[in-house]
């Protein structure tokens, strides 16, 4: 049979979550009768399955076979212009023709009007086939931002081009001196005779050569900080030059550009001064979820390569998959992938709910309270997911290469590419360390508790013992969190926040997967294996936090640093 990336666990997870409120809202309560509107939930599910199956076919049989060539050739830079590898062009052309470029955009622009949860499965499958392609495919996020915050003229002009695959985009945010700290952005936006012009330099811009860019720029003269920044829509012409593209460790198919704007004409998007605090935050949240899907896709590809190799490779008279050292690693990899996938879809759903309330608010419905709650959930789960998925992807790629032994270190097998590609996921769109900063307030504020409670509220008949175990861990974790909170020293809390976020990820994934395994008996082995692993890891993390807290109580917060002096050059 032909391979297809729309695999069982992706299908099942999709069925596990109730998308109906989201789909109803997106489809005008199933009341439209035109040919390209959905008329019922069952019809929606049927179509989603069809289009995901088709995407899974494209990814497995068209994109994946081209990934090695894309990696080898990469995007190139000549005479001031960037060229994608031929195979990248073919991939984008194929996805465009098959109509997948405007996944979550409204149908009136040629989009598919999909819930984010569904579209994310496509992003995950594209990434599994070719991680670098996700960067180009996933940059539809900028179109989503235009769709959310742009004016009607901008939308009518830009969005159909995106949906039909006629243009690609970029989000031009970072600069040489403004990376993680976007408040430091200095590129100037100058208003002259009612028109805006951009002047300055942007660096590390994925696909900065794209025809349409969203540019974060300082529109308020003599200001510092985020409130002086606005968002601009820039369409390629000759007042912006590409200085160079970066030579990177991985994702070679995706060009990373340095751009110089020389009074380049642009249009304001939305309101002045809301560039960073509203639009970029929204843009980044979408991008963080997409990068999580990318990481998960790479992990799935690495796992599949490891399984394939372990079955084929014989040592000591048998396939190495029979060796405990090898199958133990594979079990860990599988449990990590499956539980993270559950977390990612849960987060997608949270973002879908948030978007739904925002749409309803726009139509005059009073959903302020719901929207506020949904925002809190999404802004806790999004960084938690990126933290989990991208670190997991690196670990899985590392172990997959390890299973290949010496062969894995060679370019002859795809696993070394996956290992290199995974490495960016926990850096861009906010490093793991920044995800911890974003997620920790949710852990400390009670968001973690309420999400755990919700996940554990599902009725259990088979897995009551597992339910009790997780409930006991939760009680213990909450106690630990309270103890940490009782320490008034901010540096200590910051110091242990990654341990707490890790605990939250482990426990929350257990709880989510529990509900899933209750309904799907075939997943119970994975649940039990994962839970045994969580038990040990949770205990270790807890001891570590407690020991540190004790030491800080006895010797002050300076003790965190004192046994380690970093030489200053």
């Amino acid at each position: 049979m032909k391979e297809n990336y729309f695999i069982e666990s992706r299908k099942l997870v999709l069925e596990h979550f109730n998308l109906e409120p989201i789909v109803r809202d997106l489809e005008n309560n199933f009341e439209n009768s035109d040919a390209i509107s959905l008329r019922s939930m069952s019809e929606s599910q049927k179509w989603y399955q069809m289009l995901l199956n088709n995407a899974g076919d494209i990814c497995a049989n068209f994109i994946a076979p081209r990934a090695a060539a894309v990696d080898e050739k990469g995007a190139s830079f000549q005479n001031g212009e960037v060229q994608w590898a031929t195979e990248t062009q073919e991939n984008m052309h194929t996805l465009g023709k098959a109509g997948y470029m405007g996944g979550t955009l409204p149908r009136k622009y040629g989009g598919l009007n999909l819930p984010i949860t569904v579209n994310n499965i496509i992003v995950e499958m594209v990434s599994q086939a070719d991680a670098s392609l996700m960067n180009l495919f996933g940059l539809q996020d900028i179109a989503v931002t235009v769709s959310k915050f742009g004016n009607e003229t901008q939308k009518d002009r830009i969005l159909p081009k995106f949906c039909h695959g006629e243009v690609s985009g970029s989000m031009s945010l970072t600069e040489p001196d403004a990376g993680s700290d976007l408040q430091a952005v200095g590129l100037r936006a100058i208003e002259k005779d009612g028109k805006w012009y951009l002047d300055g330099v942007k660096r590390f811009i994925t696909n900065g050569c794209g025809e349409v860019s969203l540019v974060l720029a300082r529109s308020e003269k003599d200001t510092k900080g985020g409130r002086g920044l606005s968002m601009f829509l820039y369409e390629r012409e000759d007042h912006m030059i590409i200085r160079r593209i970066e030579d990177k460790l991985g994702i070679h198919g995706s060009p990373t550009c340095e751009l110089q704007f020389n009074m380049a004409p642009a249009e304001l998007v939305g309101k002045r001064k809301f560039g960073l605090i509203k639009y970029v935050m929204s843009l980044m949240d979408g991008a963080r979820l997409a990068v999580s899907a990318q990481a998960l896709g790479i992990a799935q590809a690495a796992f599949d390569e490891a399984v394939k190799y372990a079955n084929q490779r014989e040592q000591f008279g048998k396939a190495i998959v029979e060796l405990p050292a090898v199958y133990q690693m594979l079990k860990h990899m599988q449990a990590e992938i499956e539980t993270t996938r559950m977390l990612m879809y849960r987060t997608g759903l949270a973002v879908d709910f948030l978007d739904m309330y925002e749409r309803q608010a726009e139509h005059g419905k009073d959903v302020r309270a719901e929207a506020k709650a949904a925002t809190a959930v999404a802004s806790f789960l999004t960084p938690l997911t990126k933290f989990t998925a991208t670190e997991m992807s690196n670990k899985v790629a590392y172990d997959a290469l390890q299973i290949h032994g010496g062969c894995g270190y060679m370019k002859d097998f795809p696993v070394e590419r996956l290992y290199r590609d995974a490495r960016i996921t926990n850096i861009y769109e906010g490093t793991t360390q920044l995800q911890v900063v974003a997620a920790i307030s949710g852990v400390l504020s009670g968001m973690f508790k309420s999400e755990m409670d919700a996940a554990l509220a599902a009725p259990m008949s088979e897995l009551t013992h597992e339910h009790q175990r997780i409930s006991a861990w939760l009680a213990s974790a909450l106690e630990l969190i309270d103890t940490v909170k009782s320490c008034k020293d901010r540096e200590f809390v910051d110091y242990v926040s990654n341990y707490l976020v890790e605990i939250a990820s482990l426990l929350y994934r257990s709880a989510l997967y529990l509900g899933y395994a209750e309904k799907n008996p075939s997943c119970r082995d994975v649940l039990k294996f994962f839970m045994n692993d969580v038990e040990v890891r949770f205990a270790g993390l807890k001891i570590r936090v407690q020991t540190l807290q004790q030491s800080v109580a006895e010797s002050g917060v300076a003790s965190l640093k004192k046994d380690f002096v970093f030489p200053k050059n």
């Binding site: 040919a35 019809e43 179509w47 289009l51 194929t94 023709k97 098959a98 109509g99 040629g110 598919l112």
Partner: protein, 267 residues
Amino acid sequence: MRKVVVLAKQVPDTANIAADAMKEDGTVNRGALPAIFNPEDLNALEMALQVKEQLGCEVHVITMGPNTATAVLKHSLYLGADKVWLVSDRKFAGADTLATSQVLAKAIQHVGDVSMVFAGRQAIDGDTAQVGPQVANLLDFNLVAFATELKSVSAEHITVARDAEVQTEVIQAPFPVLITVSHEANSPRYPNATRMLKYFRDDIAIPTLDRETLNIPEELCGLKGSPTKVFAIKNIQLTGGAHQMYEGANDGIRALVRDIVKDYTEV
């Protein structure tokens, strides 16, 4: 507007064949095999869609078969066909290539104003490669068989490369023309997600053409109109290679005669 017709067939997936693939009477047991779009018909449809992209014509897909063959038509709509036709009648059952060609030729006339017809080189069940050429003959269309590349198309003619075994011929054919397309010609596109949404419902109306509508005499269609009689079916395993080339000189001819006399079969 200029119309282009594609002939498509739903076939048993002979790549995934099972033990009960044949019935006792030597006909194919269609129930035992998954039904798929005949692969080279997809290449024919792809060529038609490329012609459409250049000329802006209308692409019609015709299939002859039972109701289940609508799956092929729906897939054609997902890929980009403008209109589809199911040619179906109990009286068409048991048709050989000639009886099939009679019906398809009438269906093409029914569509009307057709300047180009594309068909797969051959179907993977019968493997005769006869239907396309017979239809061309019945309609008195120009014929190019075994096309391997679409070179160009204009308002007056189409230029394709065709495989002539030892060489490739490039042929410019005026309309009306029927072209049979080989799998080398292109890579069929993937279904379009929005088109799937538009056409996936069960209540999509697909026009059906029956014997009366097409006005075909009974003796020309189905088993009655089929001069082919299946005498017996045997499982044959070939022990020789797929094909053998001989030099056109004395030594080659001697070798050819020797090989013809030799028995390659093993029942």
